[in-house]
């Protein structure tokens, strides 16, 4: 079955490629291309490579940045990189390696890179979603790519999101001088959209805690969904998918508070994951 991606320019020399809800970017200087991630299936990765070649004549993928470990974004990153570089944060790289991928450059902190004639900042400001989730900043193109935030409310279970640091990181990244924010899923947004994504998660977190404080059976979605929907509808009811997603999101968030978070990522010292004292 042939798969076709939607490709559109988002900045000078930068394009976004989307397959349904999933989205990524690639940037070109001459015929040298830096791509991010690579989608979740071989068919989509093939379509991505094809889309790059159709957009950039004689394209040579010199580097792929695996911005997150999740299979639905980067399962095919190594194949897409081919003989080029595969760059990942150390925590992401550990997972990629365990799955047979071969990162060639492993980052333990923020890095400025020149790859394929592009100047990139790869930013890790703490755990957000997944392991070693990097924000890809192209300062000259005033563009930011990040898996996690959305321009709508279709977060489902907030899979593998680390609420201790999530919105702090998103708000820090929203202070960058960028015009376009390309999320890993859903439509492109801007820094105001990124701030609103943080506002939504913070408001859902507060409403979920208040539900517990008010004595709701926080494990029952028939009780949680109408409670948080009423609390948040005025501010966030316009977000796509709000009514179908806010209830399960509240169940997920209230258990973060009840249980204390999931692992070192949700503590004040996530650097312990890297073995730092």
């Amino acid at each position: 079955m042939s798969v076709k991606l939607d490709v559109a320019p988002v900045a000078d020399g930068v394009w976004t490629a989307a397959a349904g809800d999933y989205r990524t970017i690639f940037a070109a200087a001459g015929d040298e291309v830096v791509a991010v991630n690579g989608f979740g299936t071989a068919a989509l990765a093939g379509a991505y490579a094809e889309a790059i070649r159709a957009t950039v004549p004689a394209a040579k993928v010199v580097a792929v940045i695996a911005s997150i470990d999740h299979l639905d974004h980067s399962a095919q990153a190594s194949q897409l990189a081919g003989s080029g570089e595969l760059v990942a944060h150390e925590l992401c790289a550990r997972l990629l390696t365990s799955r047979g991928q071969n990162p060639t450059r492993r980052l333990a902190e923020d890095a400025e890179l020149e790859l394929g004639g592009q100047r990139l900042s790869l930013l890790y400001r703490g755990p957000t979603q997944g392991s070693g989730n990097l924000a890809v900043h192209l300062p000259e193109q005033r563009l930011l790519f990040l898996v996690g935030p959305r321009g709508d409310a279709r977060y489902g279970l907030f899979p593998d999101m680390h609420f201790r640091h999530l919105t702090r990181v998103w708000r820090e990244l929203a202070e960058l001088e960028v015009d376009v924010v390309v999320p890993g899923r859903g439509p492109t947004i801007d820094v105001d959209g990124l701030r609103r994504a943080a506002d939504y998660v913070d408001a859902l977190a507060e409403a979920s805690q208040q539900a517990f404080a008010d004595g709701l059976p926080i494990w029952v979605i028939e009780a949680m969904a109408p409670y948080v929907e009423e609390a948040l509808e005025e501010r966030f009811g316009d977000l796509g998918g709000f009514d179908r997603h806010v209830g399960i999101g509240a169940i997920r968030l209230v258990h973060y508070y009840l249980m204390g978070g999931w692992g070192l990522e949700d503590t004040a010292r996530p650097e312990l994951l890297l073995g730092k004292p």
């Binding site: 999740h70 593998d160 004595g215 179908r244 692992g263």
Partner: protein
């Protein structure tokens, strides 16, 4: 009574009172052996043991008030005894978050080093950092005349989650891994890649009664059946993905799961409440490849 305005707050960040943490529950108790008891408020469950001089309590229950209720239950069974040791099963606040409220006099708080690392880094209000840690897979303890072994079978749920084995009483206690009925909500912080094989390692031990962290004790068949249920849910999640069910859309998943699985599992405790969430979590797991480093290479090979 605990004041909801001033009680320990775990990691809750909202202002104002937390009556949910201050509401006292009723904790009942049942003997499991000559000196071993299980305590429950109907939802949470744990064990405590009578020592030669004092008491060893496992876990703390889920809130400051519930910890107080747990202490009241212990004091009724073993009046006037010092509660000198608290053993944490793992690091989650809803089981181990309130040792301050349970036993302010406890001189020993014992946990696996993996759990202790999270607790120390978390800094939750009311959760006491362990005073003593252990490492590795198995360790035998003799505390105040009470003999038990702690066993870390590998990644299952949370961090440093261990089973407590009381061989003289034929009891195995472990929290949030095997629970009667379907899994709790979206099986939070379960490491689904390694959960089943690591839990099955515990079947090699000699025990007749499994005491879970919730609801009622199980026999060996109940333990095994519960693990088999998760195998089926994992398969069902693959089926749902193959059929194009949106893995983020809970109402659609819930309807699909109830229709697909009711004939097989509809009589299980809490089926209607949680079957959709169970399937949704497994779908997310399969799609993303697992959540965190615990889901990479977490399966421990070999028998205990």
């Amino acid at each position: 009574m605990i004041d909801p305005n001033t009680c320990h707050r775990g990691i809750f960040t909202i202002d104002g009172p937390l009556p949910g943490y201050a509401f006292p529950t009723t904790v009942s108790y049942t003997p499991l052996g000559e000196r071993l008891w299980t305590a429950t408020d109907g939802i949470y469950r744990t064990v405590f043991a009578e020592g030669d001089e004092g008491v060893v309590a496992f876990d703390t229950f889920w809130s400051p008030a519930a910890a107080g209720s747990y202490r009241t239950a212990i004091d009724r069974v073993l009046p006037g005894r010092e509660l000198h040791t608290v053993v944490y099963s793992h690091e989650h606040l809803d089981h181990c978050g309130f040792a301050t409220d349970l036993a302010p006099e406890a001189s020993t708080i014992l946990a696996h080093e993996d759990a202790a690392a999270v607790i120390a880094a978390r800094g939750a209000d009311g959760q006491v950092v362990p005073t003593e840690t252990w490492e590795g897979e198995r360790k035998r303890f003799e505390i105040d005349g009470i003999g038990f072994e702690l066993i870390n079978p590998g990644a299952t749920h949370g961090a440093g989650n261990v089973a407590a084995h009381f061989p003289e009483d034929g009891v195995l206690f472990m929290v949030d891994t095997v629970i009667p009925g379907v899994g709790y909500t979206f099986v939070p912080d379960w490491h689904l890649d390694s959960y089943l094989p690591n839990m099955r390692r515990l079947e090699a031990l000699e025990w007749e009664t499994f005491v879970p962290g919730h609801f009622w004790p199980l026999d060996r068949q109940g333990f095994s059946d519960n693990l088999a249920y998760y195998e089926r849910i994992s398969e069902a999640a693959f089926e749902a993905l193959a059929e194009g069910i949106d893995p983020d859309d809970f109402p659609v998943i819930d309807a699909w799961a109830k229709e697909r699985l009711r004939a097989e599992h509809g009589r299980l405790f809490r089926f209607d409440e949680y079957i959709g969430m169970n399937v949704m979590r497994y779908m997310a797991h399969h799609r993303t490849g697992g959540w965190g480093l615990e889901d990479a290479g977490g399966v421990v090979e070999g028998s205990l």
